[in-house]
Amino acid sequence: MTTAEVKPPVLTIGPLAWLRKNLFSTWYNIALTLLAIWLLSALLEPAIQWGTTEARWGVIKANLTLFMVGQYPRSQIGRVWLTVYLLAGLIGLSWGVWKNAARGFALIAVSAGAAFTMIALFFRWDAWTQWLLAEAILLIFYFIGLYLPRGTLITAVAWFLYFPFVFLVIGGSKYIATLPPVPSNLWGGLLLTLLLTIVGNFGALPLGILLALGRRSKLPVIRYFSIGYIEIIRGVPLITILYTAAILLPYFLPIDVRPSQVIRAMIGFVIFEAAYQAENVRGGLQAIDRGQYEAAHALGLNGTQTTILIILPQALRMVVPALFNSFISLFKDTSLVALIGLFEIVRIARSILAQTEWLGTHREVFLFAFIIYWVFNLAFTYGNRRVEEALGVGKR
């Protein structure tokens, strides 16, 4: 007798089946569903009422540029756009070169660009042309990426150069006539928030890796230094580190070196975040089986090669969720720099509320700030998932 082929049970899918199964399966389930609908509408109705009639959304429209770049000189705003165009080009290039691996990010960027274009058109904000241009650049570079020889190398190098380049373009230099210096106390809004997040995190990660390795070092000097650093920094609140960086840092530096408040804040974030990233990475290092070291040594790899080629890639892959967690935390913690006089999103929001014509628009302004944070965090969360999938976290 041959074994009859057994098919898996057919799943009923579709919205109606889903509704019946999850919301209306029993009498008390029906009751709970109805109760929930009533509660939601009771709560949401006033909010929708407010949002469509009372709210003065004009405050957002009037201050959108302030939200995005703070006091950045309006005559120089093309430089911020330049960094956006470059980013669009890089995303397009990555999409073309890496295809599926970068497609998700590219689609997010395309839809974000489209959304910004629509919003700008809706608010009669003249920036819609720039957003459209960014979209066009992204698509053009996608096609370039498809046919670029040695695309992987070029794209990787371009990403690597992008961040220093952003600093040059935003900050300017007295040696470049077309890019006059813009003092960093004029950087603000979303621009400042993103710069602090990116510098804080990407500066802290290498330092954190070194500290994590140092904490496991056989040399007592290195080990105790690492432990001391991590435990002291983790033992104090971020705001005290930011104050220290803002007020005390100049005393430790030569008299003619006076980093601006933004640079001090960045240093503070790097110092702070490194301690946490070190502990994240250490968690990954501890999870590596002893057999991995033995196999690497048995093949004749030396200590450094073993660490860089075998141990770190596995340890970092294992702690991707923790690294992203810290990344997101830091993104939100940038709001603390409002307290040392920098105009990031929250401080901008408060300054808008001080404008006499927009008195009493707390709800609109903070709702908007809330949405900015939330949308970016959605993107980071999505990025986290994609990175985990690409690296096969927990699968291999």
Partner: protein, 251 residues
């Protein structure tokens, strides 16, 4: 220090001792292995046989006595140790493949970084080795996608990629499901017949009978008895050897 350049003695151990804290795990092991010899070490668990084989490429440090491998004495000089490790391949009970690398990358890693072999050449060698162990079609998979037997064969190919003069096997089939043991043993037998010097800790008596030149019985940190497979199987001298053989052969 180089000695015995002319002779064929590729591993020389003289009165090797090791302690784990106060536990005396190796109590004066002396053993000489000739080039091309196949040695099978067996004995009860905790007898020190794995510790001994791991001393031969200094994954464990011996505290007394002398170990000379391929003319170089193992000591605290890390460069000597790394040089020895390039000449001595090792296969582990738990495979210890690198899970973040593909099969091919696992094999080409050490030749590329330690021997500085050009990419194309090490790739070619890796494919040859994968053919030799019978799984060239798995080259681009990750270790977790392979069966235990396939993983262990990749591990053997990885060790061979360094073109070692000696291969150490530390219970290579103990973590395998029964139906996969044969495919690994077949590779080991082929390797033994090709003239490779092999020191293997294993309880696969069929393997020992087929290719071992010498069998060594370890118990309580000492070499209790050694001899050819015929001597050991047909006419064991020591009572502990007899007892142990009766335990592993009659079940």
């Amino acid at each position: 220090m180089r000695e015995n350049n002319v002779s064929q003695e590729i591993i020389i151990c003289r009165d090797v001792h090791k302690w784990f804290d106060h536990f005396h795990v190796l109590k004066g092991i002396s053993l000489t292995v000739q080039k091309g010899e196949v040695i099978v070490i067996f004995g009860p668990s905790g007898s020190g046989k794995s510790t001994f084989i791991r001393c031969l490429n200094r994954l464990e440090e011996h505290q007394k006595g002398q170990i000379i491998v391929d003319g170089i004495e193992l000591g605290n000089d890390i460069r000597n140790v790394e040089k020895i490790r390039q000449e001595v391949g090792m296969v582990f009970q738990q495979f210890n493949l690198f899970p973040h690398l593909t099969v091919l990358q696992n094999i080409t890693l050490a030749p590329a970084w330690v021997r500085r072999t050009p990419k194309e050449q090490s790739r070619e060698l890796a494919m040859q080795l994968l053919k030799r162990v019978g799984i060239p079609e798995q080259a681009d998979k990750y270790p977790a996608q392979l069966s235990g037997g396939q993983q262990q064969r990749v591990a053997i190919a990885r060790a061979l990629a360094m073109q070692p003069r000696i291969m150490l096997f530390d219970e290579p089939t103990s973590a395998l499901d029964p139906e996969m043991i044969k495919e690994v043993l077949d590779v080991m037998v082929e390797l033994a017949k090709s003239g490779m010097t092999i020191v293997a800790v294993t309880h696969e008596m069929g393997f020992a009978r087929a290719v071992a030149n010498r069998m060594i019985f370890f118990d309580k940190g000492e070499i209790v008895e050694q001899g050819t497979p015929q001597q050991i199987f047909n006419n064991p001298q020591n009572d502990r050897t007899k007892l142990f053989l009766s335990q592993i052969l009659h079940h």
